[in-house]
């Protein structure tokens, strides 16, 4: 038995035709984050610290749908969520965050500093301020690329999973068909 680590940056119908200029930054980011995790494990860091460290890094990379690269709701806003859990079944989760830079670290603080498992929306935002985690203006999470993705999704009247290509669908007044959480849209 030895240490092991695995990470992901999202799944979906990532087109095989993804151009190199979009594929390579993502592959480089995966390599970079894997390296960070491997070095932490080799330095005998506890797995809980390792997964938080790696997910914080992934949240700070705008090409992935989390933290800085979060996609937009139908109202053009950002609502982030995160969860952390260890083998003793201690766990923490947050939802509906709009200003917290690293949601995964707030999830860990819920696990360690409250008697609860899950805080959401205003309560989670208030807890973030109380705990002094880094927060920024909600607008700083809104990137031009994600505004474009939302526009495409609205035109196709769909919600999308990571990397789903919006299928043009001119169906009026229908609630958007759930299709996952696209990112490359």
């Amino acid at each position: 038995m030895g240490w092991a680590i695995a990470l992901h940056g999202g799944a979906g119908d990532i087109p095989l035709s993804l151009p190199p200029e979009r594929r390579q930054p993502r592959e480089a980011a995966l390599r970079h984050c894997l390296q960070i995790g491997v070095e932490a494990l080799k330095a005998n860091k506890p797995p809980l610290d390792v997964v938080e460290l790696v997910v914080r890094e992934l949240e700070n990379i705008p090409v992935f749908n989390a933290g800085k690269g979060s996609v937009l709701t139908s109202s053009g806003t950002v609502e982030m969520e995160a969860c952390i859990m260890d083998g003793t079944k201690r766990c923490g989760a947050v939802s509906g965050l709009t200003t917290v830079v690293n949601p995964i670290s707030l999830a860990r603080l819920v696990m360690e500093n409250t008697p609860h498992i899950y805080l959401a929306f205003d309560g989670a935002e208030a807890f973030a301020r109380e705990q002094g985690v880094e927060c920024v203006d909600a607008n700083s999470f809104i990137t031009a690329e994600n505004v474009e993705r939302l526009k495409q999704a609205k035109e196709a009247n769909r919600v999308q999973i990571d990397y789903t290509q919006p299928i043009k669908k001119y169906v009026k007044e229908e609630t958007p068909e759930a299709d996952g959480d696209s990112q490359l849209g």
Binding site: V51, L72, I84, D86, I104, A178
Partner: protein
């Protein structure tokens, strides 16, 4: 969605997942990521982080099912995760990464692709997007 699972050489396990959710989702919609046992789970056997269409992952309690197959049927991490991804979740909706307390790692998905990476102490490592990678 992004996620990471890790196990140290003592068999301690952890899982973490974070997401912005779905493009064009309704305000207030919660996905699988923060739901314990759906998008994120860990116990003394394995740690799991899932991604894809949240509603499908929640319905199938994907992350907990991987652990439950190991716990109650005694199957390996790889077989448990493959069963969940291939048999008990809709095609085109789910991917996950998981590690076991013994240091096994698996990254199955039933979508076109999943951005993924893994490494083990005995020197194995993988970085990929599509199945053929």
């Amino acid at each position: 969605t992004v996620g990471c699972v890790a196990v140290d050489d003592l068999g301690n396990l952890a899982s973490a997942t974070s997401t912005g959710g779905l493009v064009n989702k309704m305000v207030g919609r919660i996905g699988d990521t923060p739901i314990i046992g759906a998008g994120t789970y860990a116990n003394n056997l394995c740690a799991v982080s899932a991604t894809g269409k949240g509603e499908a992952i929640i319905r199938s309690t994907a992350a907990r099912d991987v652990a439950a197959f190991m716990e109650y049927k005694g199957v390996s991490l790889k077989d448990a995760a493959a069963f969940v991804v291939e048999e008990s979740t809709p095609k085109g909706n789910v991917g996950l990464v998981a590690v076991s307390a013994k240091g096994d790692v698996t990254m199955p998905f039933n979508t076109t692709g999943m951005f993924r990476a893994c490494a083990t102490e005995d020197g194995y490592w993988e970085i990929g997007i599509w199945p053929s990678d």
